[in-house]
Amino acid sequence: MFNTYQPPVYDYQRSVDQQAGQIAHHPLIIVGAGPIGLAAGLDAGVQGMPALILDDNNTVSVGSRAVCYSKRALEVLDRLGCAGRMVEKGVCWKVGKMFFQDQLVSSFDLLPEAGYSQPAFINLQQYYLEEYMVDRAGELDQVEIRWQNRVSAVEQQGEQVVVSIETPDGPYQLSTDWLIVADGANSSVRSMMGLSMDGRVFRDRFLIADIIMKADFPSERWFSFDPSYHPGQSTLLHSQPDNVWRLDFQLGWDKDPEEEKKPENIIPRVKAMMGEAMEFELEWASVYTFMCRRMERFRHGRVIFAGDAAHQVSPFGARGANSGFQDSDNLIWKLRLVMQGLAPQQLIDSYCEEREFAADENLMNSTRATDFITPKSDVSLQFRNATLALAKQHDFARKLVNSGRLSDPAILSHSSLNTPDADPFDSPMLPGAVMEDAPIEGPKGEGWALQLVDHRFQLLCFCEDATRISAGELQQLSELAESEIPLRPLLVYRRGTPPAAIAAVHDSEGLMAQRYDGRDGSCFLIRPDQHLAARWRSLDCEAVRLALNTATCNL
């Protein structure tokens, strides 16, 4: 297998830290060079912090595994400097279609509107994603990856964590201020620490078959309930780069996974689905069961869990890796402020508060999709099939058809870091939501709203006519820029010429004003992870300072 991809081999290299009797110190160590560990490392690197990533292997993901990456994940990866290659290589898509007994019954469009820098979704084999992220890490001096460095023990000693590591040259130890654990669903560090991950195991088996074929189906997600070629079960068809197609077959609990993995058993299933005449080659196959579960707490002292190591969902809805990227996105700026002494450790606890909440939403949606796809009782099956039958004619039933609610950005509307609205706004972008993207014109030409955000907080100040900004307002904004917590005021204007003294962007198509409900004078406080912390109808410096302190646990 693997006709389309040659995995890179990353050589083990002995490091200077591997000297007997010495424990070298690194401020931040990350366990796992999968998508989430790499994202955490890259995020630290782009924010100017050193990060050391340890991985027990010497290559990227074996098999395509996670293939669907959401707009939000790509926005995060774009901030980290590696979304471009992924989007270029990936297959962009936004439409999903659901079939029942071979008839189209429902469909969705995840991004019906234009004016966003990233597509709704791309499909890309996980190994490409990881390879591009490793390449990006190579461009950042502060990020180091040590391959074939397997963590064998973790011990918290006061304000530090001592990590024992096995290598081809034997063992050594390191100490760190913070340990991020992103070593996947079967996290060995989690086991070493005697921590559990509780939830539901589903009694069903699914076969993934990646096949290479030349087919001119549109790049859409096709989900079939009870198709004639695979009666009583469901299937999924999805395209990947290199003419690879992801086929997913629900098998039922009684099937033998070892038998089902054999090519002689896979090929008839593929032929039944794609037709006898279709020519194809088998690229990769896997039989899996799945669980919906999470750790009770994501932080244990100075050890912080992220991605699948902290929470695991069923694959329906692509809520695994896509939520993991939101974990690291949420965590790294907080760690930076804490490590710089600009925020107390409660800010790290807010990572748990926000991402445990998000994990619960992901678990709920993934569990619901699974219950719809694999009904657990006769009455449940009857409701499912009644919904699908009514969906042929009725809009409300189409909306109930659940083949997976695809990953959406967390709306942290209950977060203690938010400042609740005091002024009325007419926009779904509530405090806690991710700021909406939109095309803008900045000093470097045409760009995107999301790309304005660097590692500082941003105060977006909307104004109709940039020429009419008063000296007093400029003075207020420049005083805010001198806050201890780094904050950048940014003028978002519709017309006129902004004064040189302040960073400004032109809302060239008026889409920012529209999506934010940003009227003349409206101000939006944006966190470094692009989530909205607070919004006002007019500038009030005291309110901004208070919101900034609230968003950093500095009250």
Binding site: D371, S380, D395, F396, K399, N402, R405, L430
Partner: protein, 82 residues
């Protein structure tokens, strides 16, 4: 349901599940909440008991709707191509 729907006596088959007074942040959420509650309500029941639950539920909802013109359309739509 709007006032005009109430007087028009037409069966609403557009998506209508909602949490009264709450902003809609996920378009699928209220429908999925209903679906889960529906399946959960049958938890631990025998087939016969489930049928009884469904029958009672239909009667309760039918009374809530009240308008016989709407209910007859719903009955016809439910019976179609069974």
């Amino acid at each position: 349901m709007t006032a005009s729907d109430k007087t028009s006596g037409k069966l609403n088959t557009e998506a209508n599940f909602h949490h009264a007074g709450e902003p809609v942040t996920r378009p699928y959420r209220a429908g999925d909440d209903l679906y889960e509650a529906l399946i959960d309500s049958h938890q631990g029941l025998s087939d016969e008991q489930s049928q009884m639950l469904n029958a009672r539920l239909i009667l309760l909802l039918a009374n809530h709707i009240g308008d016989l013109a709407v209910l007859r359309q719903a009955l016809a739509a439910a019976r179609e191509s069974i």
